[in-house]
Symmetry: D2
Subunit: 296 residues, 4 copies
């Protein structure tokens, strides 16, 4: 599917405030006008963007080697192209499990060697960069989207960065955060819509599906969706994943756990391997339907 | 003031409020437990719900007979099964065009006779019910979602009602508004997600795509989406429409105008007939893909 | 305090969207430019606006005569100048107590005769206007702020109207709703900030205290605050009431119940008479402090 | 998908999430139950909390020595007890002025020696701590409220920390962020309400005045308000500052610039020295009125 069809270029609305904040001039590297064609980001051999669709799957937190091996085997079989797992966890409370740290990264490395899946993990501190040597894509979480110290440090690396939208970040602020990374020389950036704060207690966040289409118009960077954090409920992950793909997303990040009830974090929103396999089939059906020539 | 009075204990309210407001018991008519199977609503021969997918299309406001005939011909040809048009318009300013009123309804009637399309129009005042005799589905707008006077009056009719979610209504409040209608004896209700208020100026509202999946779990009533009002931009209507369908929507309401630049209201979000025809193809592709038995 | 000091006229920010919606031209009757001096609204002898401060107090719902008499005696003694009580209640669920209706209004009339307090009660249906003959100020609730049918009907009466801000209404939409009433010939309007929907579960709504100052700059109408509905917790009513006065509010509406634990609705946010009396002292202290010449 | 899976029962999450996140047990150091009496934080001799009221004033960004000296002289004369100025600026765009850095801190040091005012400045990177040796209170900005790396580093210092609420942070998340600092051993923390994201374009953020009262109930830490960032408009700073004080704030942080029209950042919301002096008088009047024994 040529996603530029659903672009935004011809819209007159952006108010003066918006254009001042994220005008053509300001998005020197990540704006469509800077680079009209879609960018493909190669993450350890798995490509994303410009029609290359990728699914990143795995547990919220790396708990132990067995857990990761079991989940990795299952998600690879179902068609995921990258493995995710948190070794450094940003938790609301300082007394909650903070992740396994360096030894969590080592477990991810063993998963990578065992299954050939590129690995994705969140970095919270630029001083940890050495520990992430073997990690294929560095994730910046929603809480750190405007941690400019971290963004600038990542701009000086040559590693792909998965930048998640902040809880109350506007689309323009997300693009500007990407511009911080790009300004340092690193344009291997993948953006991720993961829900924004709102008033309805039925879902953890409101998944802003239109933001995907807006972003695809404003930037050449790949845009993926995280329906797990957006909704907070396993039952809602598949319909929201399909919606994201239908709106033009270039990929998905999905939490999968072989025993969600016993997960160290975010068990309520984690899919079992079986459920994940069903989701992959539904997502592929939507992806196939929209990639037919007739809709280009 | 003794500040310690405001202790943590008091915060048990959120969930108790929710369950009190929209618990199983409260949704006596519209809840899934009251009626496990999906409801089909027949609108003048066009069916919606339980796998019957329907698209309602037409101009935001009825402007004149020629406009309606031209648009009706086009949307029928593209596959729409109902025609919409506002005769009584709820406008933010009292000095904006308020709709043609009764003569607007007469124009809709002529469209109905000419093209055999059931007609849908917004009612703002229960005292106007007689004027809506020939209208097949009565629309309750977002601003009137909790106009209980109007809801109760509609509950005593036998006409299908299209109930739109309020700008800041929770999912449970939307269901309770439907329950007001159903409590009067009328359960021919179709719910509509049309975006909620949020902070990002890039879209008119935030389209809450997950709400569709949540609603389909909580109620047996059909749920449709209005991507035109949700986004406010013609370019975003197709991707958001496809997303809604992928999330499980039973239908769509789309604004179409033969000359959006000259529309009396909401021109920016109206599709041309050509664009609407392309949208119908994309939507059908998603609908087909997901209706395969394998994904049910 | 001359509230125009905290006016807004010299600000350059209003975006084009805002100025289009609520520009000078559109606020023909309620805008400051239409009428630079503050308006005083006389409600059955109790005046509000232009330095005249008024407190409206009473129970959320009229439950029975004894309740109203006990509460009215207490709030009058503490300094309230009007009595409020709901006879027609807009409830989220159709199965919750909907108010005593006409007999509730009769109880309010007896309170009025007994204590000489003007009475304020919510109207939900224009067809009930006759029942409100003896009511001194007609309240339009948040859910009906854009019930234009009701607003237009009230515009044709000569009764003061207390117009509450909708859950997700912008300041400009509130002013436009007032303009609907004023366009019909009735400019005896009092605006009320009562909190807007947001994400924090600690309070029922977010009380938008700055909106009071913004409104005082944009309109000559009196602006009051409802800290009871805004916060939803009795403990928070006094600090928020004082804040509203400090920001320039011309009055307050406060829920008081002689036995909050047994209230038919909103008991959690109702003050006991003793607590209300303490609140009145704190509010007066703030009011006095700011009305000194030095701060004009 | 079996839609009935998403039953009402699941909605018990909101409160359990809250109590898990910020229950009595979790707020081991900053909760009221851990320390019932109000904490006083001594910032280079200026005290805040437990009835000690303090105003921090100065420019958004340190631009040059002359600017700081002129503003410092003025705010000291008007009664401010601390001087603020940003040397490291978190800007949405990487191409905007990022602050003077280390030389900005040197200018602040000279202000401190010249006027005897303790200085407050924002830190964005734990690696800069040495540069902040002479700074009396380290400010953590809204964007870094959940930069746990930074919070943990500050927890190991013995310097007062001014922690600002994030744009979409709940009250409980703010308290948990403070707990991150306190868990490291540093309980010299001042919290700051500075507005949250919402939908109304009239103000930059919505100032959540009730949050001040809620926080004062939940924690023994001092709570101040920043009406400059909350509103974004100079005209609104005074009424919102007074409101904050009336709601129980222990202090204020106010942006002052001798020539707002030429400010390097945030000129629209900066007060002139004259306006700041008037604000101080109004604030003092409210403070005095409420500190009378009768209202405690």
């Amino acid at each position: 599917m040529d996603r530029r069809i659903i672009g935004y270029q011809d819209t007159s609305t952006p108010s003066s405030v918006v254009s001042r904040r994220a005008g053509e001039g300001a998005l020197r590297n990540v704006g469509r006008s800077a680079h009209p064609d879609d960018t493909v980001v190669d993450v350890g051999g798995a490509c994303i963007g410009a029609g290359r669709f990728a699914v990143i799957a795995g547990p919220c937190a790396v708990e132990n080697e067995e857990q990761c091996m079991v989940v990795a085997e299952a998600v690879k079989r179902a068609g995921a192209s990258m493995f995710r797992g948190g070794a450094f966890k940003p938790r609301t409370s300082p007394y909650d499990f903070q992740g396994l740290g360096a030894s969590g990264i080592e477990i991810l490395s063993r998963v990578k060697r065992e299954f050939g899946l590129p690995i994705v993990s969140e970095i919270m501190d630029a001083r940890d960069l050495d520990l992430f040597d073997d990690v294929d894509m560095l994730q910046v979480g929603a809480r750190n989207m405007q941690n400019f110290t971290l963004l600038k440090a990542l701009g000086k690396t040559d590693k792909p960065v998965l930048l998640k939208r902040g809880h109350a970040a506007t689309i323009d602020e997300l693009l500007m955060a990407a511009e911080y990374i790009a300004a340092g020389g690193n344009t291997r950036i993948v953006l991720c819509e993961r829900g924004i704060r709102s008033f309805d207690p039925r879902t953890r966040n409101v998944f802003d599906v239109a933001a995907i289409a807006v972003l695809k118009g404003l930037t050449h960077l790949p845009v993926i969706a995280d329906p797990s954090h957006a909704t907070g409920h396993a039952e809602l992950v598949a319909p929201v994943a399909c919606a994201a793909v239908a709106a033009g997303a270039d990929g998905l990040e999905i939490e999968v756990h072989h025993n969600p009830g016993a997960a160290a974090s975010d068990g309520e929103q984690s899919l079992t391997p079986e459920r994940f396999a069903r989701l992959m089939k539904r997502v592929s059906a939507v992806e196939d339907a929209l990639s037919h020539a007739a809709f280009r």
